[in-house]
Structures are given as C-alpha cells and as structure tokens.
C-alpha cells in the first residue's frame, strides 16, 4: 500500500467522525425544530401575522416565527409541512414519510397483535439500513448518542484524575432488557419505553421542554444513563443496555459495509482500535459485529491498516 493511500484512510475515518457529529446534530436540530413547529402552528393559526406575534409573544418569538416560516416555505406550504411532519425517532414523519423504530413495531405487535400500513412502511428504511450498514443508527442518527459521545469524552477527561472501572458485560444483557421491557410493556403500556430507550427519552425531553416548557420524567432516565456511562464504563448504555442497538446489530450481523483490516500492516502489540471503539467491537480480531461505521478506529489506527468498505465473503 502506498504511503499516500495510507494517510487517506486516516483522513477518511476523521471525515466519517465529523460527518457523524454533523448528522447527529442535524437530527437533534430536527427534533428541536419539530417540537417548535407545534408553537409555530399555534401562532400561525392564531395570528398568521408576524407583527401580531411580536405584540402577543415578544420580539424573539417574532424572529423565530419568521425564520420558521421562511424555512418551512422551502418545502412547500408551511401549514401543510407542519401537518405532515412530527414525532421523534420512536416514530417520526418527515414530509409525510413515516419512519418507525423496530422496537415500537415489536411492542405494538406484542400488545395489539396488529400493525398498520404506516408502521410497516416506516420500518422499511430502518431495517434496510441496518441490514446493509449495521448499527449506523447508533453513530449517525440516534439523538441521544451525541450526549453519550460527549459523556465518553468527559469520562476520559475525568479518568486523568479519578479511577473509573470499565465494566464489560455479556451482550445478552441487552436482549434481556428487550425481553424485560416487553414484559413490563405488556403489564403497563407502550409508554414505559420512554424510560428504557435513551433516544426515546431524549426525544420526549426535547419535545416536552420546547413545545410545553415542562421537564419530562424521561429526562431523569436519560440522566441516569449518562451517569451510568461515566461511572461504569465507556458508552456503557450503548454497549450493553440499549436493546435497539442490540437488535440493529443482530439484523446487521452480516452487514455489507464495515471495517476491513489489512493484517499485513497490523501491529501485534497495538490495541488502540479496540480501546477506542464506542461499541466494544474489536477490529483487531476481525470482529465486525455491532460496527456502527463511526470511523473512530480508522482515525486512531497508527499504521492505517483499517479501512471501511465492503465486507469480503
């Protein structure tokens, strides 16, 4: 492999990392925007006039109102766009296109024994993506993962001063959480997932905070997950507790796009890729299950023997 080509892969990995930060921020912004669109629709219906909005709700609201209107006009009639978009990553509709969390569909099937077209249609994109790209949801879409990413950085900062254990669990735990969650769901209702799934908790927190100005109970569970991440292990929640990640990893067990290792250049003593992986994948032994194609290992590899591409079978 030529030297130029080697360094390209490192840059490529960094590019992916930046891209993932970008898309995750985008998803967060989308959720915030959707939550605010409730307020916008309310003002639109009530006043339909920027000056009246300013008189009734103040100057900042007028600015927000006008920008929202401008932004929504890019996609069509603002009221129509607001009417066809909404929700959170649990079940979201963007410009009329539904997306459903596989766990939501599973939960509905377990409790109600019936699906709707909307749910089935919404499953197509997530399942296809998971099948070919594995857990990319975790690195590129999950709105809570940005918080986990930041927490893992804070954790490594704190590790310079304090000792934190890095507990490793068996992958079966997340399956157990899924099964236990389904049982609790059957007893109580679908709402309990807001407390179990970090991204649902994040969505709920954002929606409640922006649309209604209240603090959701889901914020507490999200806080708990972040605390667990700091105290018990790097990205502990994503690695061992999140049932969605486990499910997507299982669906993408034979994912087409993943990390590839050039064994000839790999150093015997180096473990940096396995250490840096947020999802405890070990590229060193060519283990690619659960890979979210986040690019962290590609960036850190000192010999640049890792790349991302099609899995050879």
């Amino acid at each position: 492999m030529a030297a130029g080509e080697k360094s390209r892969w490192g840059l490529y990995g960094k590019g992916l990392l930046v891209l993932s930060l970008f898309t995750r921020t985008g998803v967060l912004a989308l959720l915030c925007f959707l939550a605010f669109s409730t307020e916008y629709a309310n003002l639109k219906m009530g006043h339909n006039n920027a000056r009246l909005v300013e008189l009734s709700a103040g100057k900042p609201m007028r600015i927000a109102y006008e920008w929202t209107e401008k932004f929504l006009s890019l996609f069509g009639e603002p009221e129509e766009v607001v009417r066809t978009s909404g929700g959170m990553t649990w079940s979201i509709r963007v410009l009329g296109m539904p997306f459903t969390d596989p766990i939501a569909a599973l939960s509905l099937l377990a409790k109600h024994h019936r699906w709707t077209w909307s749910i089935a249609l919404g499953l197509i994109a997530p399942l296809t993506i998971a099948f070919f790209f594995g857990r990319v949801f975790c690195a590129y879409i999950c709105p809570a993962s940005l918080a986990f990413f930041v927490t893992s950085r804070i954790r490594s900062l704190l590790e310079k001063f304090f000792y934190f254990p890095d507990i490793r669990l068996h992958h079966g735990v997340a399956w157990g959480v899924l099964a236990g969650g389904l049982v609790v769901m059957l007893l109580f209702g679908h709402g309990i997932w807001t407390l179990i799934l970090p991204y649902f908790a994040m969505g709920q927190t954002i929606f409640q905070a922006i649309a209604f100005g209240t603090l959701s109970v889901a914020a507490a569970s999200l806080g708990l997950f972040l605390l667990v991440d700091v105290l018990l292990g790097k990205q502990f929640t994503c690695r061992y507790l999140c049932p969605t990640g486990r499910l997507l990893g299982w669906i993408g067990a034979r994912q087409a796009v993943t990390i590839r290792r050039d064994a000839a250049h790999c150093l015997e003593s180096c473990r940096s890729c396995a250490d840096v992986c947020p999802l405890s994948v070990n590229p060193k032994v060519d283990e690619t299950r659960d890979c979210s194609v986040c690019g962290e290992c590609v960036t850190i590899c000192p010999t640049q023997c890792l790349s991302i591409g099609r899995e050879k079978r």
């Binding site: 735990v173 209240t214 507790l241």
Partner: protein, 198 residues
C-alpha cells in the same frame, strides 16, 4: 459454557426494566383523573394497547391542546396524549387523526360529518353555579360550541341545554365558561361507559 454466559446475562438484563414499575409506587400527588383523549380515539383499553406514545398528535395539534402525559397519570398513561378541556378544548381540526401511525386515533376528516363522528365525552351543566341559571345572562358556552343548535341549545337568559346524543365532548364550552370553577364540564367517554356498565 457460552450459552450459559448468555443466559446469565439475559436474565440479569430482564431484571433491569422491572425496576420501572417501582415508579408507579411513588406518592402520586395530585393525579389528574379526568382528561379527554384526542378525537377519533379508540375505546380506552384498546387505545392504551395501540398508542405507542410517539407524540405525533401533540406535535401537529395547531391548538396545542394535546399534551402528553408524564408520570402524573401513572405508568399506564405515560407518554399518551390527553386534552384537559378547562385549559384548552379541542377545535376538532382532526390534524391529529390524520397522523396517528398506529390507528389509535381513527382517521376523521375535518368536515361536519367528521366532526359529528367524534365522541370524546359529553358536557354536563352544573345549574347551581351557572350564571344563566341564576338570572345573569351569560351564554359563553353556547357561543363556543362548534355544533350550536345541535349539541347545545339555549333558552331564557341563555340557559344552556346539552343534547348528549349530539355533543361530541370537544371541551370548548368548558374552556369558555366564565364561572370559576367551571359550570359546564366534559365527562370523558371512558368514564361514561364505565358508569353505564356499572
């Protein structure tokens, strides 16, 4: 051996969500007992089975009258939508019924027929505190009613009479009532059905 490790981890995992029901045992405080479901909602039990709590109905509601539950309704109601008529009634625009992905809210059209198909509850007037029934002409509830002359008629001093068979329970009258506490209240359909079967 490998299977044993998995099973151990699996059972440990199942225990974690079982901590969630403990939240239901928290001291309840003022639990809100009377609330409405959005228009087109299935019967209460079926609704709870079907609604996944995605919040899309609350998201599209241009009236911001649909809120989602926190823990104040118990775990069963967590993240499900509710309308508290006294703070904001439903304007029957049917936007929420169009977006529900699971069919927990049946699709209804924003037409008069669609409006009449709604069954969220029924209004009841407390005559002893109603202004119109104590000689002070009011009529605020009648002015707010989206089906005036059908769901509600008024007599002398604008005294309201609710016609239960036509009242859809949108809650606009309860919101509009100028008496404090309100002299007209919506009793949710779930509560009415419960009462009928008891």
């Amino acid at each position: 051996m490998k299977r044993r490790g998995f099973l151990k981890a699996f059972f440990a995992g199942t225990l974690l969500p079982l901590a969630v029901p403990l939240l239901d045992k928290l001291p309840g405080g003022n639990r809100l007992r009377r609330f409405l479901r959005p228009p087109g909602a299935l019967p209460e039990k079926e609704f709870l089975d079907t609604c996944i709590g995605c919040g899309q109905c609350a998201n599209v509601c241009p009236n911001k009258c649909i809120e989602t539950y926190g823990l104040d309704g118990g775990l069963d109601n967590l993240a499900t939508p509710r309308i508290v008529a006294r703070s904001k009634g439903c304007i029957l625009c049917m936007a929420c019924t169009q977006v529900c992905p699971t069919g927990a809210l049946k699709k209804l059209e924003p037409t008069e027929e669609g409006m009449r198909a709604v069954a969220m509850g029924t209004a009841f007037v407390t005559e002893s505190i109603c202004y119109s029934f104590s000689g002070r002409t009011c009529g605020a509830c009648y002015r707010a009613c989206p089906l005036p002359g059908e769901a509600m008629t008024i007599g002398q001093y604008e005294q309201p009479t609710v016609h239960a068979e036509h009242c859809v329970g949108c809650g606009l009258c309860e919101q509009a009532c100028i008496h404090m506490p309100q002299a007209i209240r919506i009793v949710p359909i779930a509560e009415l059905r419960e009462r009928d079967t008891a």
